[in-house]
């Protein structure tokens, strides 16, 4: 399987509980959306899956190995096989786009190659190819501080695509993008996962994006899994329960996050359940 979590729990240093008793099992090639209110524990769950956060309790198995029992070198190799799209693009503003994208393979390159690439990019064509899929090819040699927030998020995405991970994780990958671009980006992540047969887990604020693009949807509430269902079986009642803490419920009709055949991407990708 791609990963297994059994009874995973985590509490922050201040005692606040972020995850409690999470069981989740995902097979290779599955595409899973995590939805839930802010603060529900989606980010913490993704960090556990990225082997960047050691849970306080429970068992974690990622890509066939147990990260927290592995030797440091093996853990590092495992991390190189997991790609994370962060909510805030972790890219230094003064870096050039080409360097930021090539940084995706630092975990696979020997040090001399990484350093040589700072002097003269070793694989500009590889970086350009990933950027082209995101419609940013012409910004290859621009500096990142000249990009907009949405463009920077796409550069970060290109970096992870260039990394070619076996487990592709995304934490609110479209939070800085407009609705049309969000739609394209989520579709692209899904295409990539399908094409290369890798596992994709993405947390999304927009419920409709999750339901439309992902076969499997996991609802996270108060650090636990509220439901784990095929997208078609997620009911309105479940969603109301999931978002009850966000202060209220759907709104007068129009913004109900249900897949309707005629819903165009531009309107459908608005954040869900926003109170009027």
């Amino acid at each position: 399987m791609s990963f297994v979590l059994e009874g995973v729990g985590f509490s922050h240093a201040n005692g606040q509980r972020a995850l409690a008793g999470v069981d989740l099992r995902v097979e290779p090639g599955e595409r899973v959306a995590l939805i839930g209110a802010s603060g529900a524990g989606k980010t913490t769950l993704l960090r556990v899956l990225a082997a960047s956060l050691r849970p306080g309790s429970g068992r974690v198995e990622l890509l066939g190995s147990a990260p927290w029992d592995a030797a440091p070198r093996d853990l590092r190799r495992l991390r190189a096989r997991i790609g994370v799209v962060h909510q805030v693009p972790p890219i230094p503003p003064r870096q050039r786009v080409v360097t930021a994208v090539l940084a995706g393979r630092l975990g696979q390159w020997p040090l001399w190659k990484s350093l040589a690439s700072l002097v003269l990019p070793v694989d500009p064509e590889g970086a350009r190819r990933e950027l082209a899929r995101l419609d940013l090819a012409e910004r290859l040699y621009d500096r990142c501080d000249r990009l907009s927030g949405g463009q920077l998020q796409r550069v970060a995405l290109a970096r992870v695509l260039y990394q070619q991970p076996e487990l592709l994780l995304a934490d609110e990958p479209v939070s800085a993008m407009d609705p049309a671009l969000s739609e394209l980006t989520v579709a692209l992540l899904n295409d990539e996962a399908r094409r290369r047969g890798v596992t994709l887990v993405a947390s999304l604020h927009a419920v409709d994006l999750a339901l439309r693009h992902f076969p499997r949807v996991v609802g996270v509430k108060d650090g636990a899994i509220l439901f784990d269902l095929p997208a078609a079986e997620v009911s309105e009642a479940l969603l109301r329960e999931l978002y009850a803490a966000e202060g209220g419920l759907p709104l007068a009709g129009t913004a109900l996050p249900f897949p309707s055949p005629d819903a165009g991407p531009a309107t459908a990708a608005l954040p869900p359940l926003r109170c009027a």
Partner: protein, 273 residues
């Protein structure tokens, strides 16, 4: 509508400010700090007399030739000293940087090794810069004899300690997220440094290094004591012979060098911006 609650930080802030003042007062007393003495008429006259001895500047061609030669020597020594200091400081500064610590993200084991290493590096840097360069110079004179070698080595060691500490602090205070995300994707520490921290911190690291080079030029006065030649030795001779004009010209040279270092730093910063 209710009024906003009082700022909970206000009282502690007032307390700390008062504590700092209460501590400062006896220290000023101990240091015999009496600024009024500067402006008493007798003292003003004495200072004026002393300063008048520095004028006019000495501009004879012979002296200027000597001065040019000494300036080149000084620049060479300062540059060699800083190069040595950078060699010492870079590895130690990197060791100090917590944001490059893989174990902070959580390895299987071994977080204490990193902590031990950082404590050791901090200690070593404190020793390097805690001993003044003059003392290091006097120590090395016993080995290398009078001459530039002892001075360069002393500069390199003391300034290596300062640079290492500040490098570590600059790297520590830059945004750690880029480096962390690279480490989380399996990158090594040095690659994470080069791709995650240096783009943000490079400018500041460079300008601090140039500033230390400027300090090293001034510190060459110390070199005079160990017979390393350069502006320091020239200054020493002029002062001993009570030749104010020569001393003033040397001071003016220092000023020009400081301004040049400033210009260089500015140009490099702009180039890297």
């Amino acid at each position: 509508m209710t009024a906003a609650p009082r700022d909970p930080a206000a009282l502690p802030r007032l307390g700390w400010t008062l504590a700092a003042l209460v501590l400062l007062w006896p220290l000023l007393q101990l240091a015999d700090f009496r600024p009024a003495a500067l402006f008493e008429p007798g003292n003003l006259a004495a200072m004026g007399h002393f300063l008048a001895g520095f004028l006019p500047l000495e501009t004879s061609p012979d002296f200027l030739a000597l001065l040019g030669r000494a300036t080149v020597d000084t620049l060479a020594m300062a540059t060699a000293g800083i190069a040595l200091a950078v060699l010492l400081a870079v590895p130690l500064g990197i060791v100090l940087t917590r944001s490059l610590s893989v174990s902070a993200i959580g390895p299987g084991r071994g977080g204490w090794i990193g902590r031990l290493l950082r404590a050791g590096a901090r200690m070593l840097l404190a020793v390097l810069r805690g001993v003044p360069e003059l003392v290091w110079a006097l120590l090395f004179v016993r080995v290398f004899g009078l001459g530039p070698a002892a001075g360069v080595l002393a500069l390199g060691i003391t300034y290596g300690g300062m640079l290492g500490k500040v490098y570590g602090e600059i790297l520590e205070s830059t945004d750690a997220r880029p480096a962390r995300s690279l480490l989380e994707a399996g990158s090594g520490r040095l690659a994470a440094l080069a791709y995650g921290l240096l783009p943000n911190a490079g400018q500041e690291l460079l300008s601090y290094t140039v500033y230390r080079w400027e300090c090293a030029v001034r510190a060459s006065v110390v070199m005079g004591f160990v017979g390393a030649g350069g502006l320091g030795q020239l200054m020493d001779q002029s002062m001993k012979m009570l030749n104010g004009g020569e001393a003033a010209t040397i001071l003016a040279t220092f000023l020009v060098l400081v301004l040049a270092a400033d210009g260089l730093s500015e140009a490099l910063r702009r180039r890297m911006a």
